[in-house]
Amino acid sequence: MVFANPRAALDALAGQKYLADLAIAQVVFLAERLDKPVLVEGPAGVGKTELAKSVAAATDRRLIRLQCYEGLDEAKALYEWNYRKQLLRLQAAPGEAWSETESDIFGEDFLLARPLLEAIRSPEPVVLLIDEVDRVEMETEALMLELLADFQVSIPELGTMTATTRPAVFLTSNNTRELSEALKRRCLYLHIGYPTIEREQEILHARLPGLGERLAEQVARFVAGIRAMPLRKPPSVSESLDWAAALIALGVAALDDAVAAATLNVLLKHQSDIDIVAKELGADLIET
């Protein structure tokens, strides 16, 4: 029992400066109770990866991270035989009987554990973060199913390895493709959207202690307004944090149109988006 109730999960995360909302805390709590992996989706930069890190820190567990990319295969995700070491072992003892050698070179000494196997074999419970799972191919995704369902891994030469302690698993996805039904079925689903103005304000305060009350409120409201516009890439929490940090560095005490227009490039990543917002600001400047 790590968390007594969702409220405790919320507080523990807050202790790590991760300000979750109740829905997030509820899922974290349930995942722990039901021993289920959590699939976290949402726009980039709302704190999906950060959630796993904070859970690890809050529960005092080691974080094992598997960054997914296209072309990630078993050898990189699960395990690989240390081919060179095996070769050396063979060359070092030329006269040895094969049966003896075989049982030796396919022992655990010659196994290179990759993140997934490492999480299974760890004697103390860990947090396993499988980041951007939507980037791997279907085949690799299938490979993870055994792990997620039963927390075990089959290695033909060694047999099945079962986890001694259940790792807490977080998968994140940027939703660039539909994940397989089988994978989704095994997970609890958590969608993290943009925070409410109040929560964003709290996040800004927690992360940037130097930020003034008034500026935090202005930033949170301003960003919320921008998100309602039709942009290619609406600013995320990470961008509003960057922006607020930039404003502090510039010594801005209160936001006005001129400052906002001059620093938009911190908040927005596409020129066409900057143009849209700048036009909005400019129109107001002329009006008043």
């Binding site: 509820q26 959590v38 296209e70 493709r177 989704k184 609890l188 301003f222 400047l285």
Partner: protein, 475 residues
């Protein structure tokens, strides 16, 4: 338990696939939940039953019907059938009791919003729904009608201007002013939401949760019929189409890269063998480089099928980086090239509007004339079509009894790699009235009935991967 089964059944009716395992998970998860806490239940059911962000909206609607909020204090509920509509019966508890006039109610609401008093606001909304909703037991009227009545009764627009005026102060910067106005907009929006919830709650109390969920049921955005979509539906489709195009582009890129096994790369295989002492242990393959298809879109942009043309453009546009070339032509009764209007990063809605005003798509009267448009295409733009070109024509083939000029389409088809016709009309109405799809069909590689976003997405994906004919995949 029975309740949960009903709830899952309703989700399935809406089109959200909930598997047996997920249902069992949900039931198991509820053991760990404080069943008096509605938010906990909501989060738990969402986590176990919903597996895609696209379904969250539908889930929320259904949840609200099934788990309607219970009132915090005694509440007479829906007025009996005998009460006159708009009567004074109903919940009160707002200063002055139930006898207060409408102005009192509006005053109380303004104070509640201004002071941020949640409890008072709840009470006001409750009283307002009782007073203005005119809800009667057993009346077969949807919630939207009541919501409209309450919003009008409370005069939310007046509230908005009052709130806007209230925060006014001298020396306020333009930015602060704008932020404040946005805030007022959000408050009013929230108020509308509270009204909707209160009405749902009363409807459920009156009719039970299943019938109410049924009346609130809406198809998922990608299943909405594009030609008959309401404005509200279109907005939802609009929101759905953005992530969908991104996903489509990623998927097409991936499939094109991984679909075909490349040929053995001898040089890299030998190079690799050096690390294993000369044994050819790991074969290396060349990356396949499949040809990029070349697409020409001819879109009918007349009123009846314009929205459909627009979404087609948007999806084709999304995969354009995977295509060698995309050329777009728009027509009503004359045809003009509009490729230039669809550069990457342009606002599609604005581009479509520009097509309407700038392109010469009208010849005589602005009624669809497929025959003339096709003939004109052959005359002026036939160079755009080569043996590697896939031609996509979108439209309902309703040519207003003009000459269909089938020989023009035959000319295009004989030069192109393939011609596909996407017809957004229900197949039952094909070849009725002025529809001549039957005359064009034999000249096309295939004609598809594509009525919603899901079918359209599938078609565009197959076309752009182009390993074999999409026939049989869309139908």
């Amino acid at each position: 338990m029975r309740f949960l089964v009903d709830f899952i059944g309703e989700l399935r009716e809406v089109g959200i696939g909930v598997s047996m395992v997920e249902a069992v998970d949900a039931a198991g998860a509820l053991d760990h939940v404080d069943l008096l806490d509605r938010d906990q239940i909501r989060a738990t059911l969402a986590a176990t039953l919903i597996k895609s962000s696209r379904h969250l909206e539908a889930f929320d609607i259904t949840f609200d019907a099934f788990f309607a909020t219970r009132p915090r204090f005694d509440d007479p509920g829906v007025e009996g059938a005998g009460a006159p509509p708009g009567g004074e019966a109903g919940a009160d508890g707002v200063g002055g009791g139930g006898t207060g006039g409408d102005t009192d109610l509006m005053e109380a609401m303004f104070r509640a919003v201004d002071a941020g008093d949640e409890d008072l606001l709840q009470a006001v909304v409750r009283a307002a729904v009782g007073r203005f909703g005119g809800m009667e037991s057993g009346r077969p009227v949807g919630g939207a009608y009541y919501a409209y009545r309450v919003a009008r009764g409370l005069d939310l627009d007046a509230l908005r201007s009052r709130l806007e005026a209230a925060g006014e102060s001298d020396g306020e910067s333009a930015l602060d002013r704008r932020l404040r106005l946005q805030e007022v907009g959000r408050v009013v929006e929230r108020l509308r939401d509270m009204i909707r919830r209160e009405i749902t709650r009363r409807l459920v109390a009156d009719r039970g949760h299943l019938p109410v969920a049924k009346t609130m049921r809406r198809p998922l955005a990608e299943d909405v019929d594009l030609t008959t979509a309401t404005r509200d539906d279109l907005q939802r489709i609009e929101r759905a189409v953005q992530p969908l195009t991104r996903k489509l582009a990623a998927r097409v890129a991936r499939r094109r890269r991984t679909g075909i096994e490349g040929r053995l790369d001898v040089r890299r295989t030998v190079r690799r063998s050096l690390s294993t002492g000369g044994a050819l242990a790991e074969p290396r393959f060349r990356k396949p480089r499949p040809g990029r298809p070349d697409i020409v879109v001819l879109a009918d942009v007349s009123g009846s099928v314009a929205t459909f043309a627009r979404f087609t453009m948007q999806l084709v546009h999304a995969v354009s980086s995977q295509l060698r070339r995309v050329r777009a032509f728009a027509f009503i009764d004359a045809i003009d090239e509009v490729t230039g209007h669809f550069r990457p990063g342009t606002d599609l809605a604005a581009a479509m509007a520009r097509v309407g005003t700038e392109a010469r798509v009208v010849w005589v009267d602005g009624h669809s004339n497929y025959g003339h448009a096709l003939a004109q295409f052959v005359e002026q733009h036939l160079g755009a079509v080569t043996p590697t070109t896939t031609v996509i024509i979108t439209g309902d083939a309703r040519t207003n009894y003009h000459d269909p000029h089938t020989e023009a389409l035959a000319t295009i088809a004989s030069r192109a790699r393939a011609v596909y016709w996407l017809n957004p009309e229900d197949r039952r109405y094909w070849d009725t009235g002025d529809s001549v799809i039957g005359l064009y069909a034999p000249l096309c590689a295939a004609v598809y009935e594509v009525r919603n976003l899901r079918q359209l997405e599938r078609f565009v994906e197959t076309i752009s991967v182009q390993r074999r004919d999409p026939a049989g995949l869309v139908a």
